[in-house]
Amino acid sequence: MMQRIALATPVLQKNDELAIENRALFASRGVVAVNLMSAPGAGKTTLLEKSLPALQLRFRCGVIEGDLQTDLDAQRVRKTGAVAHQINTNTCHLDARMVRQAFDAAFPQGPDLLFIENIGNLVCPAAYDLGEHWRVTLFSVAEGADKPRKYPKMFHNSHAVVLNKIDLLPFTDVRLEELIESVGAVSPEAAIFPVSCRTGDGLGAWIEWLEMHIALSRQAMASASREGV
Protein backbone atom coordinates (compact mmCIF):
# COMPACT_ATOMS: atom_id res chain seq x y z
CA MET A 1 0.00 0.00 0.00
CA MET A 2 1.42 3.33 -1.07
CA GLN A 3 0.39 6.67 0.23
CA ARG A 4 0.70 9.80 -1.86
CA ILE A 5 1.33 13.13 -0.18
CA ALA A 6 0.62 16.24 -2.23
CA LEU A 7 3.27 18.93 -1.82
CA ALA A 8 3.29 21.26 -4.86
CA THR A 9 6.43 22.84 -3.44
CA PRO A 10 8.54 24.95 -5.79
CA VAL A 11 12.08 23.60 -5.93
CA LEU A 12 13.35 27.16 -5.53
CA GLN A 13 10.99 27.98 -2.66
CA LYS A 14 13.84 28.77 -0.26
CA ASN A 15 15.40 31.12 -2.78
CA ASP A 16 12.06 32.80 -3.42
CA GLU A 17 11.55 33.35 0.32
CA LEU A 18 15.00 34.89 0.66
CA ALA A 19 14.29 37.09 -2.37
CA ILE A 20 11.19 38.44 -0.66
CA GLU A 21 13.33 39.23 2.39
CA ASN A 22 15.87 40.99 0.17
CA ARG A 23 13.12 43.06 -1.42
CA ALA A 24 11.85 44.10 2.00
CA LEU A 25 15.38 44.97 3.11
CA PHE A 26 15.95 47.03 -0.03
CA ALA A 27 12.67 48.85 0.55
CA SER A 28 13.58 49.62 4.16
CA ARG A 29 16.85 51.21 2.99
CA GLY A 30 15.36 52.92 -0.07
CA VAL A 31 17.42 50.82 -2.49
CA VAL A 32 16.25 50.21 -6.04
CA ALA A 33 17.86 46.99 -7.33
CA VAL A 34 18.50 46.03 -10.94
CA ASN A 35 19.46 42.48 -11.93
CA LEU A 36 21.66 42.66 -15.03
CA MET A 37 21.93 39.39 -16.94
CA SER A 38 23.57 38.26 -20.18
CA ALA A 39 25.76 35.64 -21.79
CA PRO A 40 29.49 36.03 -21.06
CA GLY A 41 31.09 38.80 -23.07
CA ALA A 42 27.92 40.67 -24.04
CA GLY A 43 29.25 43.75 -22.23
CA LYS A 44 27.56 43.91 -18.79
CA THR A 45 30.55 45.50 -17.09
CA THR A 46 31.13 47.87 -19.99
CA LEU A 47 27.47 48.91 -19.91
CA LEU A 48 27.89 49.71 -16.22
CA GLU A 49 31.12 51.61 -16.83
CA LYS A 50 29.34 53.72 -19.46
CA SER A 51 26.09 54.21 -17.53
CA LEU A 52 27.37 54.84 -14.00
CA PRO A 53 29.00 58.24 -14.57
CA ALA A 54 25.65 59.75 -15.63
CA LEU A 55 23.67 57.88 -12.97
CA GLN A 56 26.07 58.86 -10.20
CA LEU A 57 25.15 62.50 -10.74
CA ARG A 58 21.70 61.71 -9.37
CA PHE A 59 22.06 58.53 -7.29
CA ARG A 60 24.53 56.89 -4.96
CA CYS A 61 25.32 53.74 -6.95
CA GLY A 62 26.51 50.33 -5.80
CA VAL A 63 27.33 47.22 -7.76
CA ILE A 64 27.45 43.58 -6.74
CA GLU A 65 29.65 41.79 -9.25
CA GLY A 66 29.20 38.06 -9.75
CA ASP A 67 31.90 36.05 -11.46
CA LEU A 68 33.27 32.55 -11.17
CA GLN A 69 36.73 33.95 -10.43
CA THR A 70 38.75 37.19 -10.16
CA ASP A 71 37.70 40.67 -9.04
CA LEU A 72 38.56 42.27 -12.38
CA ASP A 73 35.00 43.52 -12.90
CA ALA A 74 34.77 45.13 -9.47
CA GLN A 75 38.07 46.90 -10.12
CA ARG A 76 36.75 48.28 -13.42
CA VAL A 77 33.49 49.47 -11.90
CA ARG A 78 35.21 51.15 -8.92
CA LYS A 79 36.98 53.47 -11.35
CA THR A 80 33.61 55.12 -12.00
CA GLY A 81 33.38 56.02 -8.31
CA ALA A 82 30.65 53.48 -7.55
CA VAL A 83 31.00 51.14 -4.59
CA ALA A 84 31.58 47.65 -5.98
CA HIS A 85 31.63 44.31 -4.22
CA GLN A 86 32.84 41.20 -6.00
CA ILE A 87 31.51 37.74 -5.26
CA ASN A 88 33.17 34.65 -6.67
CA THR A 89 30.58 31.95 -6.83
CA ASN A 90 31.89 28.93 -8.70
CA THR A 91 28.25 28.55 -9.72
CA CYS A 92 26.52 29.45 -12.96
CA HIS A 93 24.10 31.98 -11.42
CA LEU A 94 23.61 34.22 -8.41
CA ASP A 95 20.97 33.33 -5.86
CA ALA A 96 19.16 35.43 -3.26
CA ARG A 97 21.36 34.25 -0.39
CA MET A 98 24.59 35.30 -2.14
CA VAL A 99 23.11 38.71 -2.87
CA ARG A 100 22.05 39.15 0.75
CA GLN A 101 25.51 38.24 2.04
CA ALA A 102 27.17 40.62 -0.41
CA PHE A 103 24.73 43.41 0.42
CA ASP A 104 25.27 43.02 4.17
CA ALA A 105 29.04 42.96 3.71
CA ALA A 106 29.36 45.91 1.34
CA PHE A 107 26.44 48.28 1.82
CA PRO A 108 25.77 49.10 5.47
CA GLN A 109 24.23 52.38 4.28
CA GLY A 110 22.46 51.03 1.20
CA PRO A 111 23.04 52.84 -2.12
CA ASP A 112 20.10 54.49 -3.91
CA LEU A 113 20.66 52.28 -6.92
CA LEU A 114 22.09 48.78 -6.72
CA PHE A 115 23.16 46.92 -9.83
CA ILE A 116 23.54 43.18 -9.46
CA GLU A 117 25.72 41.99 -12.30
CA ASN A 118 24.82 38.33 -12.64
CA ILE A 119 27.08 35.50 -13.83
CA GLY A 120 27.45 35.43 -17.61
CA ASN A 121 24.92 32.77 -18.61
CA LEU A 122 21.77 33.00 -20.72
CA VAL A 123 19.96 30.16 -18.92
CA CYS A 124 20.15 29.65 -15.12
CA PRO A 125 20.10 33.25 -13.82
CA ALA A 126 16.61 33.64 -15.31
CA ALA A 127 15.21 31.19 -12.74
CA TYR A 128 16.49 32.94 -9.61
CA ASP A 129 14.67 35.88 -8.08
CA LEU A 130 17.27 37.96 -6.26
CA GLY A 131 14.84 40.45 -4.75
CA GLU A 132 15.48 42.94 -7.55
CA HIS A 133 12.93 45.45 -8.78
CA TRP A 134 13.93 45.39 -12.43
CA ARG A 135 15.43 42.68 -14.61
CA VAL A 136 17.51 43.71 -17.57
CA THR A 137 18.96 41.36 -20.18
CA LEU A 138 21.90 42.52 -22.21
CA PHE A 139 22.59 40.88 -25.53
CA SER A 140 25.32 41.54 -28.06
CA VAL A 141 24.07 41.65 -31.62
CA ALA A 142 26.91 39.40 -32.80
CA GLU A 143 25.40 36.51 -30.79
CA GLY A 144 22.81 36.12 -33.57
CA ALA A 145 19.21 37.14 -34.19
CA ASP A 146 17.81 33.71 -33.35
CA LYS A 147 19.08 33.49 -29.76
CA PRO A 148 16.18 35.23 -27.99
CA ARG A 149 13.86 32.59 -29.49
CA LYS A 150 16.20 29.78 -28.52
CA TYR A 151 16.71 31.03 -24.95
CA PRO A 152 13.31 32.65 -24.34
CA LYS A 153 13.04 32.55 -20.57
CA MET A 154 15.57 35.25 -19.70
CA PHE A 155 14.21 37.60 -22.35
CA HIS A 156 10.62 36.86 -21.40
CA ASN A 157 11.23 37.72 -17.77
CA SER A 158 13.07 40.96 -18.47
CA HIS A 159 11.64 44.45 -18.19
CA ALA A 160 14.25 45.78 -20.57
CA VAL A 161 16.52 44.24 -23.18
CA VAL A 162 19.65 46.14 -24.19
CA LEU A 163 21.09 45.13 -27.57
CA ASN A 164 24.77 46.01 -27.37
CA LYS A 165 27.54 46.29 -29.97
CA ILE A 166 25.37 47.70 -32.75
CA ASP A 167 28.59 49.21 -34.11
CA LEU A 168 29.47 45.63 -35.16
CA LEU A 169 26.31 45.15 -37.27
CA PRO A 170 28.04 45.96 -40.60
CA PHE A 171 30.47 43.11 -39.94
CA THR A 172 27.80 40.48 -39.23
CA ASP A 173 24.85 38.96 -41.09
CA VAL A 174 22.51 40.03 -38.29
CA ARG A 175 19.73 42.46 -39.19
CA LEU A 176 18.75 44.65 -36.25
CA GLU A 177 15.04 44.58 -37.23
CA GLU A 178 15.09 40.79 -37.19
CA LEU A 179 16.74 40.72 -33.77
CA ILE A 180 14.24 43.22 -32.35
CA GLU A 181 11.40 41.10 -33.76
CA SER A 182 12.94 38.02 -32.18
CA VAL A 183 13.08 39.70 -28.74
CA GLY A 184 9.52 40.96 -29.20
CA ALA A 185 8.22 37.48 -30.00
CA VAL A 186 9.23 36.11 -26.60
CA SER A 187 9.00 39.34 -24.58
CA PRO A 188 6.35 41.57 -26.14
CA GLU A 189 6.32 44.07 -23.28
CA ALA A 190 10.05 44.58 -22.73
CA ALA A 191 11.59 47.92 -23.59
CA ILE A 192 14.31 47.36 -26.20
CA PHE A 193 17.42 49.55 -26.48
CA PRO A 194 19.89 49.11 -29.33
CA VAL A 195 23.16 50.60 -28.06
CA SER A 196 26.86 50.63 -28.61
CA CYS A 197 28.78 50.92 -25.37
CA ARG A 198 31.87 51.51 -27.50
CA THR A 199 30.57 54.56 -29.38
CA GLY A 200 27.94 55.63 -26.83
CA ASP A 201 25.11 55.35 -29.39
CA GLY A 202 21.70 54.75 -27.80
CA LEU A 203 22.90 54.94 -24.20
CA GLY A 204 20.86 58.08 -23.51
CA ALA A 205 17.53 56.32 -24.06
CA TRP A 206 18.60 53.40 -21.86
CA ILE A 207 19.66 55.71 -19.01
CA GLU A 208 16.42 57.66 -19.34
CA TRP A 209 14.41 54.42 -19.05
CA LEU A 210 16.42 53.45 -16.00
CA GLU A 211 15.92 56.81 -14.29
CA MET A 212 12.21 56.63 -14.96
CA HIS A 213 11.98 53.12 -13.48
CA ILE A 214 14.08 54.07 -10.46
CA ALA A 215 11.54 56.84 -9.85
CA LEU A 216 8.65 54.36 -10.21
CA SER A 217 10.18 52.00 -7.66
CA ARG A 218 10.85 54.84 -5.25
CA GLN A 219 7.24 56.02 -5.51
CA ALA A 220 6.02 52.46 -4.90
CA MET A 221 8.31 52.04 -1.88
CA ALA A 222 7.30 55.43 -0.47
CA SER A 223 3.57 54.76 -0.78
CA ALA A 224 4.01 51.24 0.67
CA SER A 225 5.83 52.63 3.71
CA ARG A 226 3.15 55.36 4.16
CA GLU A 227 0.52 52.66 4.21
CA GLY A 228 2.65 50.69 6.65
CA VAL A 229 2.68 47.63 4.40
Binding site: R4, V11, V123
Partner: protein, 130 residues
Amino acid sequence: MANREAARAGAPLSAVGVRLGEMSGVVEEALSFAFDALKADAGAAQAELVVERVAVEALCPHCGSTTRPEGELILWCPHCGSPMRIVSGEQMEIAWIEVHAPATAVAPSIEATPVAPPAAASSRAEWETG
Protein backbone atom coordinates in the same frame (compact mmCIF):
# COMPACT_ATOMS: atom_id res chain seq x y z
CA MET B 1 12.85 18.19 0.63
CA ALA B 2 11.09 14.96 -0.39
CA ASN B 3 13.00 13.02 2.24
CA ARG B 4 12.10 15.52 4.93
CA GLU B 5 8.42 15.17 4.10
CA ALA B 6 8.74 11.38 4.06
CA ALA B 7 10.37 11.55 7.49
CA ARG B 8 7.46 13.66 8.72
CA ALA B 9 5.11 11.02 7.40
CA GLY B 10 7.22 8.44 9.24
CA ALA B 11 7.61 6.13 6.24
CA PRO B 12 10.25 5.34 3.62
CA LEU B 13 10.11 7.27 0.37
CA SER B 14 9.04 5.23 -2.64
CA ALA B 15 8.51 7.85 -5.37
CA VAL B 16 8.87 11.56 -6.05
CA GLY B 17 6.64 13.36 -8.55
CA VAL B 18 8.18 16.40 -10.16
CA ARG B 19 6.33 18.90 -12.32
CA LEU B 20 8.54 20.64 -14.87
CA GLY B 21 7.40 23.38 -17.19
CA GLU B 22 8.67 23.27 -20.75
CA MET B 23 10.25 26.66 -19.98
CA SER B 24 11.75 25.68 -16.62
CA GLY B 25 15.14 25.13 -18.21
CA VAL B 26 15.49 21.75 -16.49
CA VAL B 27 16.93 18.92 -18.57
CA GLU B 28 14.94 15.85 -17.62
CA GLU B 29 17.80 13.44 -18.39
CA ALA B 30 20.19 15.40 -16.17
CA LEU B 31 17.65 15.43 -13.36
CA SER B 32 17.06 11.65 -13.60
CA PHE B 33 20.80 11.07 -13.66
CA ALA B 34 21.33 13.20 -10.57
CA PHE B 35 18.34 11.63 -8.80
CA ASP B 36 19.67 8.11 -9.40
CA ALA B 37 23.17 9.12 -8.38
CA LEU B 38 22.05 10.70 -5.11
CA LYS B 39 19.14 8.61 -3.93
CA ALA B 40 21.15 5.84 -2.25
CA ASP B 41 23.14 8.34 -0.17
CA ALA B 42 19.90 10.11 0.67
CA GLY B 43 18.59 6.89 2.19
CA ALA B 44 15.99 6.40 -0.55
CA ALA B 45 17.66 3.80 -2.77
CA GLN B 46 14.33 2.40 -3.97
CA ALA B 47 12.74 5.74 -4.76
CA GLU B 48 11.48 6.36 -8.27
CA LEU B 49 11.38 9.72 -10.04
CA VAL B 50 8.22 10.51 -12.00
CA VAL B 51 8.39 13.60 -14.19
CA GLU B 52 5.39 15.43 -15.61
CA ARG B 53 6.15 18.01 -18.30
CA VAL B 54 3.85 21.01 -18.33
CA ALA B 55 3.23 22.75 -21.64
CA VAL B 56 3.68 26.50 -21.95
CA GLU B 57 0.37 28.32 -21.73
CA ALA B 58 -0.04 32.00 -22.49
CA LEU B 59 -2.92 34.30 -21.62
CA CYS B 60 -3.93 37.37 -23.56
CA PRO B 61 -4.93 40.03 -21.00
CA HIS B 62 -6.66 41.97 -23.78
CA CYS B 63 -9.08 39.41 -25.25
CA GLY B 64 -8.83 36.81 -22.49
CA SER B 65 -7.93 33.90 -24.75
CA THR B 66 -5.36 31.31 -23.75
CA THR B 67 -2.95 29.66 -26.17
CA ARG B 68 -0.47 26.84 -26.00
CA PRO B 69 2.27 28.00 -28.34
CA GLU B 70 3.43 24.96 -30.33
CA GLY B 71 7.13 24.74 -31.09
CA GLU B 72 8.62 28.19 -31.19
CA LEU B 73 7.42 30.62 -28.57
CA ILE B 74 5.63 33.64 -30.00
CA LEU B 75 3.77 35.71 -27.45
CA TRP B 76 1.65 37.87 -29.71
CA CYS B 77 -2.00 36.86 -29.37
CA PRO B 78 -3.07 34.91 -32.46
CA HIS B 79 -6.63 36.28 -32.04
CA CYS B 80 -6.16 39.99 -31.39
CA GLY B 81 -2.42 40.63 -31.79
CA SER B 82 -1.84 41.90 -28.23
CA PRO B 83 1.13 40.95 -26.03
CA MET B 84 0.48 37.74 -24.09
CA ARG B 85 1.76 36.60 -20.70
CA ILE B 86 2.96 33.14 -19.76
CA VAL B 87 0.67 31.69 -17.10
CA SER B 88 2.06 28.16 -17.01
CA GLY B 89 5.12 26.30 -18.19
CA GLU B 90 7.83 27.88 -16.02
CA GLN B 91 7.21 25.72 -12.96
CA MET B 92 9.80 23.54 -11.32
CA GLU B 93 8.15 21.89 -8.36
CA ILE B 94 7.93 18.76 -6.28
CA ALA B 95 4.32 17.86 -6.94
CA TRP B 96 4.01 14.94 -4.54
CA ILE B 97 5.86 12.18 -2.80
CA GLU B 98 4.79 8.62 -2.28
CA VAL B 99 5.68 6.67 0.83
CA HIS B 100 5.20 3.07 1.87
CA ALA B 101 2.09 3.32 4.00
CA PRO B 102 3.15 3.91 7.58
CA ALA B 103 1.64 2.40 10.70
CA THR B 104 1.20 5.83 12.25
CA ALA B 105 -1.03 8.62 11.01
CA VAL B 106 0.37 11.32 8.73
CA ALA B 107 0.99 14.80 10.11
CA PRO B 108 -2.33 16.64 9.96
CA SER B 109 -1.02 19.57 7.87
CA ILE B 110 -0.47 17.27 4.92
CA GLU B 111 -3.15 16.20 2.53
CA ALA B 112 -2.73 12.47 2.06
CA THR B 113 -4.47 10.27 -0.47
CA PRO B 114 -3.96 6.53 -0.65
CA VAL B 115 -3.23 5.50 -4.22
CA ALA B 116 -2.22 2.48 -6.25
CA PRO B 117 1.51 1.69 -6.67
CA PRO B 118 3.51 4.08 -8.88
CA ALA B 119 2.95 2.10 -12.08
CA ALA B 120 -0.22 4.13 -12.59
CA ALA B 121 1.31 7.36 -11.37
CA SER B 122 1.84 9.02 -14.71
CA SER B 123 -1.76 9.14 -15.83
CA ARG B 124 -2.98 12.63 -16.58
CA ALA B 125 -5.99 12.50 -14.29
CA GLU B 126 -3.91 11.65 -11.25
CA TRP B 127 -1.48 14.41 -12.01
CA GLU B 128 -4.20 16.94 -12.17
CA THR B 129 -5.84 15.81 -9.00
CA GLY B 130 -2.49 15.12 -7.27
